[in-house]
Amino acid sequence: MAGRTITRADLCEAVYQRVGLSRTESAALVETVLSEIADCVARGETVKLSSFGSFVVRQKGERIGRNPKTGEEVPIAPRRVMVFKPSNILKQQINRASPES
């Protein structure tokens, strides 16, 4: 379904268009925003961004997995994972445009 892939460059452009900063500074600020969020999550803190969604860290216990190719059982080590919970607004935005296909 999807066409294009949006990257940091597109986010920089969006910031550049909206705020009267240079492209260089827009790029630096996009990086600052992302790393601020990442640092917070890495510390185990929840990051809630209203009308967008929240990033939550979950602790997963050890479980037994299986190599789907060989059928071999392998233990999966306990780990911390990052989960994104989309806000209702984000979910609505996505369905307004492309409900199917």
Binding site: A2, V33, G53, I76, R79, A97
Partner: protein
Amino acid sequence: MIKSELVQRIAEANPHLYQRDVENIVNAILDEIVAALGRGDRVELRGFGAFSVKARPARTGRNPRTGEHVDVDGKAVPYFKTGKEMRERLNDGVDLE
């Protein structure tokens, strides 16, 4: 951390910017991601993660209280896959994937 705290932290680190500008920057980024997903595009942020849209087919659901069948329309849902560097940071530098 909530959005206003994020804005405040970035504003403190960039004293030459007005708080209102920082708010606009954060919103520009988030709005761009939402708009992209709305078009069905993918957003890939190396080291952080990737946002994409997945299609959920229509299904027949059931009202758990009455047991009644309900037709549920197909829909699109946002999906986030954590980036490699982020996974490593959460697990003491080891990528367990």
